[in-house]
């Protein structure tokens, strides 16, 4: 589970869809790994406007990344570019849980793969 993905995840429960507290999901007991990937500057530059920055800042803080600027950067210097690449693309959550801030449902992450299937009573 890459951090860029978590910026696009909300609770799968229908009644949570319109609730602001259902996005972003919150990490619990997250175990991280880093896998080096080649930096694609053009990609980072173009993906930046698409990111929900307050949600990313919250996710980053929960995972202990404290160097992320509190506002979306206007210009990407080389260091910020590298930091974003590391956070969004190279960092993976291998084990842990994603928790909905609205209903409290916990989605498991195992071996890097999250499971968003809901039990019958929540479908």
């Amino acid at each position: 589970m890459k951090i860029l993905t978590t910026n696009y995840l909300a609770c799968a429960v229908k009644t949570c869809k319109s609730e602001p507290a259902a996005f972003p999901l919150h990490f619990k007991d997250a175990e991280l790994a880093r896998e080096e990937l080649e930096l694609n500057p053009e990609f980072i530059k173009n993906v930046l406007p698409r990111i929900d920055w307050p949600a990313l800042a919250q996710t980053a803080a929960e995972l202990g990344f404290t160097t992320l600027p509190s506002q979306k950067p206007e210009n990407l210097d080389e260091q910020t570019m590298k930091d974003l690449h590391t956070l969004l693309m190279e960092t993976q959550v291998m084990e842990g849980k994603l928790v909905c801030g609205n209903c409290g449902y916990e989605y498991n992450i195992k071996e890097g793969i999250a499971n968003f299937l809901l039990p019958n009573h929540l479908v």
Binding site: L9, A10, L37, F43, N46, R50, D52, Y107, I113, N115
Partner: protein, 270 residues
Amino acid sequence: MPPLPVPTAQDGPHAPDGSEEYETRHVHQVYEHIASHFSATRFKPWPIVERFLNDRPTGSVGLDIGCGNGKYLTVNPNIYMVGSDRRSSNLVRIAHDRKIQDSFVADALDLPHPNTRFDFAISIAVIHHFSSPERRVEAVRRILATLKRPNAAGENGGQALIYVWALEQKSSRRGWSEGDPQDVFVPWVMGKQYMASPASNEPTGTSSCQEDKEQQETPKEVTYQRYYHLYRKSELNDDVVKAGGVVIESGYERDNWWVICSPSGGNPAA
């Protein structure tokens, strides 16, 4: 989980009951068993899917709903794709090994995504596994809901490419054509070399399959039956409109109907 009864699975017409449980037995569990064999046969991207993905601008973020083994996740390295599949966690594991993208297990009718965030989505050979007209339209509606809306600044909405199996495929080895039944079981014959281990190659009681009785000791192959709804000409386009979408482009390729569609303006259904 107690073993499910083995249905009398024969090729050909079948009347689904339109429930999720039906799809669990006749779609998801089958793919779980055939994952490695299925994946080995699914490596070449279809041309129209490839073109669609390569047309996306750098930095686009999109979904592959029903990503299977994830073969489309790596077509364009300048976009970001999130793949999901519920049919088979074995297939998602294969998809997840494609490093530059991401994938997980989710249900297409309960997608874990905020609405109106995505630049694009693809759903290739997936929606034909839903077993009622309502569930098929709902699947399209859910895909459209994830896409960006057209806005006042003149920016276009997100686009989805959807592929389904066609009823009209007279030249294929299956030979179906207009007027044939649309709800069918289609066999997947799996060779022994793809069966994972003695412990997990026992399809009996866990899936819809037939096993050659005479070869029960050491079967050479096992036939699994998957449920499909075969789409008539224009049926997919009609479903897009019923789901509140707009058809941008559509056509027929290699026994499949495909459509590129967009959400119409206004707010998505929650």
